[in-house]
Amino acid sequence: MNNRSNHSISKMIEEKASNRGMTKFAEGLMPKVFLTCALISILTTVGIVLTLIFETFSFFQEVQVAEFITSSDWYPLHGDPSYGIRPLITGTLMIAAIAMLIAIPIGLASAIFLSEYASDKTRRMVKPILEVLAGIPTIVYGFFALTFVTPLLQNIIPGLSIYNALSPGIVVGIMIIPMVASLSEDAMSAVPQSMREGAFALGSTRFEVAVKVVLPAALSGIIASFVLAVSRAIGETMIVTVAGGSNPTTSMDVTSAVQTMTAYIVQVTLGDAGYGTTEYYSIYAVGMTLFIFTLVMNVIAHIISKRFREVY
């Protein structure tokens, strides 16, 4: 019985084998299709980077590199323009710093709650909700900052100007909370349960297990999430354009208007800088600076999460 049925199945397979020849062409074609798709994004990236480099190069034929780096004045629209990137970097980093002050504690606390305290049911409910925050268009956050957070802050801090660094900083922080929370939670959930058991069995409380065992074990993933979040904060555009103002300054005053690199690029693209003018090329130089910042951040995040991955 057994033999016979085996025999007929093997026969059927043999018959089908001839048909499979038809698929051989598709078999060979598919990898090429996939490769092409993969290449599209790689080529686009290369194209963008090359454009950035060429246009930046054009910019530096008119403006000295030294001036760009060292000068502390950014007045591209003056009769006697000055192109010192420092005010834009100051504005960008200031907003990113405020954002991280908000996002790190709240994001990390949410991650600890979700990974160490919440029941499975709660986690399955809360995590998607948290991630909805990440899906809100940034322009909505921008208006939220300008029309809600800023007036609220003006009640607390008299003299806070309508455009300031504090409000968009806070809102950028709120925007990246889900990112920190979600990535940190992933890192903490990846810590083997046996490690928690070991700690509980020594008489640890839940908080001690979370802070002294799970957190250190997941540290690489957690730090990587911070770095990616910083990168996101630096690149954030709409919120800072809408609520941050357009006042490039090296002052660290969070209550007055600032300008970030991204907001400057928006300002120039929306304005009527003629093609080929120095002002036009300047957005590429700023874009290049921004790109270097976020690239470095992402590389650091990658190295951190890779270097410490094999700890457990």
């Binding site: 490690m195 058991e197 700690a199 509980f200 069995a201 020594l202 008489g203 640890s204 250190p216 700890v311």
Partner: protein, 273 residues
């Protein structure tokens, strides 16, 4: 202490010849039942666990032996669907009592797991973890604890020159002894071992077995094992579990030479399991 007013005579056929003395028992398990959701994993378990002896728990897979040992330090609570009733008296206090502090229980009752589970920290930090969370900060005392615990776990000579290295660099057997050292560092009263050698090679197993013999001078040990020879070699008393019930519990020599129950005999002689 109060909890012990419940002094009804539990069936203790095995202990009749020895003077039954509560002080000699670290644990007294009384009519323990446990459910995972709707599946009952432990049925009316009664068991006294003697001080400074090795008590082995044997039985086929799924008989409830691991579940049982994990109720002794309430680790079963980590699984939300677990429900228990009955009582477990540890040193005359019911550990299921609402006021009973589980952290305190787990400090007195250490546990070694099936797979070595050191923390991703240095060897030194692994050992001092317990003392540190319980508030010991003095560097000198901690140094002493590390040396004493590692010596107690027969690991000191192998690692004394690399205490600052990550524990994951140790072999499986060394990691398991590190886990024992980590457990000894808080000077527990009882050590629970849940198949501590099942993930180890024969030589590491032998070392752990020798260590258990050494440790019973100072600690009461409960060890779950699926290896009957191991139970025979190292334990003083043996309990045979089957389908969540204790079938037989007696001196190891009695269990292995003249078991009273047919099922025990069948299991011991390798007819199933």
């Amino acid at each position: 202490m109060l909890a012990n007013t419940k002094s009804e005579p539990v069936v203790e056929e095995t202990n009749e010849d020895k003077a039954v003395d509560m002080n000699k028992n670290v644990y007294k398990v009384d009519q323990l039942n446990l459910w995972y959701g709707k599946d009952q994993a432990l049925i009316n378990v009664d068991m006294d666990i003697p001080e400074n002896q090795v008590t082995a728990i044997i039985g086929p897979s799924g008989c409830g032996k691991s579940t049982f040992i994990k109720t002794l330090n309430r680790m079963t609570e980590m699984i939300p669907i677990v429900k228990t009733n009955g009582s477990i008296y540890y040193r005359d206090e019911n550990i299921f009592d609402k006021k009973y502090k589980v952290e305190q229980l787990r400090t007195k009752v250490g546990m070694v797991f099936q797979k070595p589970n050191p923390f991703p920290k240095s060897i030194y930090e692994n050992v001092v973890y317990g003392p540190k969370i319980h508030g010991i900060k003095d560097k000198k005392i901690l140094d002493d604890i590390v040396e004493k615990s590692l010596k107690g776990a027969a690991l000191w000579d192998e690692v004394k020159d690399r205490l600052k290295e990550n524990a994951f660099g140790l072999s499986g057997g060394q990691q398991q002894r590190l886990c024992i050292a980590r457990c000894l560092a808080v000077e527990p009263d009882v050590i629970l071992m849940d198949e501590p050698t099942s993930a180890l090679d024969p030589i590491s197993t032998l070392k752990i077995e020798e260590l258990v013999q050494e440790l019973k001078k100072d600690y009461s040990i409960v060890i779950v094992t699926h290896n009957m020879q191991q139970a025979g070699r190292i334990s003083d008393k043996t309990a045979f579990f089957l389908n969540g019930e204790i079938i037989e519990y007696d001196d190891t020599s009695t269990i292995f030479s003249s078991p009273q129950d047919k099922r025990t005999e069948d299991y011991i002689s390798g007819r199933f399991g």
